[in-house]
Subunit: 138 residues, 2 copies
């Protein structure tokens, strides 16, 4: 879906030099059909497997944080034990499967419009996000 040229462009256009390391990480994170939810540790393990030359852990942290700062990743609070990042940076809802610990995006249409009846004077709503915990049926 995305090729290297696209990523080089994407990085350059946001003032980040397209280094080998950043391009590897872009390919891994953004060259997918479905949203990717990951921890630094997940990412680190995958990179270790799939990459010829080792990328240092500091670089992985640096890259993820600069991608977050540029708006290419979103940090999400799902689990108090782990810090997750999300390649879907829009406001959106999640299924969290507590049997498998898998996190799945819900589409706009998957959740009926949510109406908040309470409102606080002087305050307006910035975002609404739903976390639906699911588990095995039996």
């Amino acid at each position: 879906m995305n090729n290297n040229r696209d990523f080089i462009e994407k990085l350059r256009s946001s003032g980040l030099r397209p280094t080998k390391q950043r391009l590897e990480i872009c390919k891994l994170l953004f060259d997918r059909k479905k949203t990717f939810h990951f921890t630094i540790s997940d990412l680190s393990k995958i990179l270790k497997k799939e990459t010829i030359k080792k990328i240092s852990l500091a670089t992985i942290y640096n890259t993820v944080h600069s991608f977050k700062k540029k708006g290419y990743l979103k940090e999400i609070s799902i689990d108090t034990e782990k810090t997750y990042f999300d390649t879907n940076t829009s406001n959106h809802h999640h299924f969290l499967d507590i049997s498998t610990n898998e996190l799945i995006d819900l589409k706009e249409d998957d959740v009926d419009n949510i109406k908040i009846k309470k409102n606080l004077p002087g305050k307006k709503i910035r975002s609404i996000e739903v976390l639906v915990k699911i588990e095995n049926n039996n």
Copy 2:
């Protein structure tokens, strides 16, 4: 609303000895009208102010975790920077005021019934929780 006798009973009935330290912390956490959302650091600061004899940080951690295990507290994922606990242990929704960083419980009635249209085969819903971020109006 609650007096010491109630807390002693509550602790005993769940197999926890009613120590001075636990009773202090009970009073601080549970003797309130409104839900209390806090971090260990918040709790620690308040205890430092309001308590004659110092309660060690290890005890604060131990107590909060045993209260959580007994179901008197719930750990919530709101912010990736901080770990919050909640004296409201039911499934419920929150306002997070990003102008003041204040966390407020929403009542059942404050949010219209949420309908999840998608369902995964073999999975059932365990809980649905909404986080509504609000901010100053202007």
